[in-house]
Amino acid sequence: MGDFFTVSVLVATLASGIRLATPFLLAGLGETIGQRSGVLNLGVEGVMLLGAFTAYYVTLETDSPTLGILAAIMVGLMMGLVYAFITLVMQAEQGISGIGIYLFGLGFTDLLFQKNVGTPIPISGLGDIHIPLLSDIPKIGEIFFQHSLPVYVAFALVPVVWFMINKTTFGLNIRAVGETPEAADTLGVSVNGTRLITILIANTMACLAGAALALEVGIFQQNLTAGQGFIAIALVYFGAWRSYGVMLGALLFGIVQATVLQWKTLGIVEGATASLTAMAPALLTIVVLVIVSRRVAAPSALTRPFDRSG
């Protein structure tokens, strides 16, 4: 265990934790915005996969990760429109439509990958960006300021999302629509219009999360996200629908994962016991939540379709 507490190992672990947290954070922030407005999307995993494949494939064909990200954003907007139609117009049961999107995303990306690419071909990702001056700070610099662009964007979005929800008119609309849509409607706020925008944002961010993942690992594979979308959804609840809460949850999960990896690498745990330690992130998330135990109410209109005639 002594090996773990050397500075260089701790630094590497924290940096790794931040990288692992990034996809959860991006997707989780988007889902938070959606849920604050009353829309649940259980299909985040499928949308992330679509974004990941799009970014991968476009980057592979054009050799430009930037184009890959842009393409992923477009796909995110498209999926947002699809989900908005399903949820707002057809008023489908939100939990189930989410599972449908998950299955579709999972199968469709695998299919496209096998047909158009076949054997995994690595792509060049986005390189790390060392923030001038800050990245030279010993230790701290390595942990925080030597990551790739999506990591910075993800963490920068945390205060941005907070500001948007709490300090802007649009944010007020989101919250109103999520708590008391009938009242908001009588006040002239377009409930479905607001939700359309939050759905677009949520899906775009989920696609970005997938794109970030694909560019980070530099490859695509069937089920690349391996459950991260569902974890992101869980973190929205962990974070009590607050962007800082989601960030803390993502960091908790990511850093614990990174710690377990280090322990295995250093041989601190091995064999079958190592499988037990892999439970740690999930277990700790529950334990922390129990300890903290603030009972924050969900947005009252969550999963409830708005029907003016109703």
């Binding site: 399903i86 489908a92 939990g95 199968g107 096998q114 974890i231 529950i286 409830r304």
Partner: protein, 408 residues
């Protein structure tokens, strides 16, 4: 629902007709999209779908395979009906299946000599207990610690899968496999094999058990005091609490029952399978078949009614079974089947609201389809509210009256 004595001229058939026609139309549209995808892949949709239908329903063996595939879906689905109706969203089916399977496997490993007539029920009970515990934990966390069940059930899934992986690396592994270690148990006691049903197919008792559980679930939900309580809590937890009902206990019970159903599914998956062992090679979903998620879909297709979930599961099971035949026939990647299932789910679930609107329209006066309205049948869910809506609020908290100011 208005009573209109005006014109009793018609159809008691309207409602069931619409109830079936709309989702079937949705399935047809979904399959059309699937056909387009197949064409794009250079495959023939006609032969493909023919193979799918044949593989799912084309003969006694095929029907048996479909029924076998549907059994875990039905079991999980019944559990979902109970949970959702009590106002709890249970996404933990996968984990509950796993723990149920583990418990039932341990029973079989511990008592291999027990005669079949005792061992089979014991492993099923073991599965129910395992799954019940795994469901009760998130239930208790929600009721007594305010932990949202979507979070806890997702996490419990991860924990269960890791636990299975741990158990099958050493403790429960087949010692006889020699140098090549594999994550599976030995072939479990034959006395625990689910008996085959007469008829020379692979149909086994698990299917009967699933239907039995569905009937029991129906009785529990709609014909028992406990069920009334659970549904009341699901409809309005606050009102129930003021009325003196034990809300917290009900939540735990709901998730425990839900988990128990999934746990039985786990036992059926292990002891009804052709391998007769618990396998984790390549991941837990190698044996759960993602029934924990697919069961949710089946339950919602069945409008959260345990008896309606029976045909819904059979249909979904048919899609899954037929999908394999389609893949073999057309030699397209199996991923297409997964995508197609997703599309079917999307279209059917989108059509459900349309269906209720159509039914309401057809039954409104002036369309000639009116019928004398009897009392609203409690077994048919109200479709005005989202079925999941009432779960969003944690128990014991009052509805906020004004939007929160940011307090991050």
């Amino acid at each position: 629902m208005r009573a209109d004595v005006g014109s009793i001229r018609s159809s008691a058939l309207v409602r069931p007709f619409v109830a079936l026609a709309v989702p079937l139309a949705a399935v047809a549209v979904a399959f059309t999209i699937g056909a387009i995808m197949l064409l794009a892949l250079g495959a023939n949709p006609i032969t493909g779908y023919a193979a799918l239908l044949d593989g799912a329903f084309g003969g006694w063996n095929e029907l048996a395979d479909t029924a076998i595939k549907s059994a875990p879906l039905l079991l999980v689905g019944v559990g979902i009906c109970i949970a959702f109706r009590a106002g709890v969203i249970n996404i933990g089916g996968e984990g509950q299946i796993i723990v149920g399977a583990i418990f039932s496997t341990v029973v079989a490993l511990a008592l291999p000599e027990l005669p079949r007539v005792f061992l089979v029920p014991l492993v099923l009970i073991g599965g129910a207990i395992g799954g019940g515990i795994w469901g009760a934990i998130p239930g208790a966390l929600k009721a007594y610690a305010g932990v949202n069940e979507i979070l806890s059930t997702i996490m419990m899934n991860i924990i269960a899968a890791q636990f299975l992986s741990f158990l099958l690396q050493d403790l429960l592994t087949d010692k006889a496999s020699g140098a090549i270690k594999i994550q599976q148990t030995e072939r479990l006691s034959e006395n625990a094999d689910l008996p085959l049903l007469p008829g020379d197919t692979r149909l086994h008792l698990g299917v009967v058990i699933a239907v039995l559980v569905a009937v029991l679930g129906y009785v529990l939900l709609f014909r028992s005091a406990l069920g009334v309580r659970l549904r009341a809590v699901g409809h309005n937890a606050n009102a129930s609490r003021y009325a003196g009902m034990p809300v917290k206990r009900s939540i735990v019970q709901a998730l425990a029952f839900s988990g128990a159903c999934a746990g039985i599914a786990g036992a059926v998956l292990v002891f009804g399978s052709e391998s007769h062992r618990l396998i984790a090679e390549g991941g837990a979903s190698g044996f759960t078949q993602s029934a924990g998620f697919n069961g949710i879909v089946a339950a919602l297709f069945g409008s959260l009614h345990p008896l309606a979930t029976i045909p819904a599961s059979f249909f979904f099971g048919g899609m899954l079974t037929g999908g394999i035949a389609l893949q073999q026939e057309l030699q397209v990647p199996a991923a297409l089947i997964v995508a197609l299932n997703g599309i079917v789910v999307l279209f059917v679930v989108s059509s459900l609201k349309l269906r209720s609107r159509l039914t309401a329209w057809a039954e409104s006066p002036g369309t000639g389809f009116t019928q004398v309205e009897t009392d609203h049948d409690p077994t048919v869910p109200r479709t005005e509210d989202s079925l999941l809506a009432s779960t969003a609020r944690p128990p014991g908290s009052s509805a906020p009256s004004a939007p929160h100011e940011g307090d991050a």
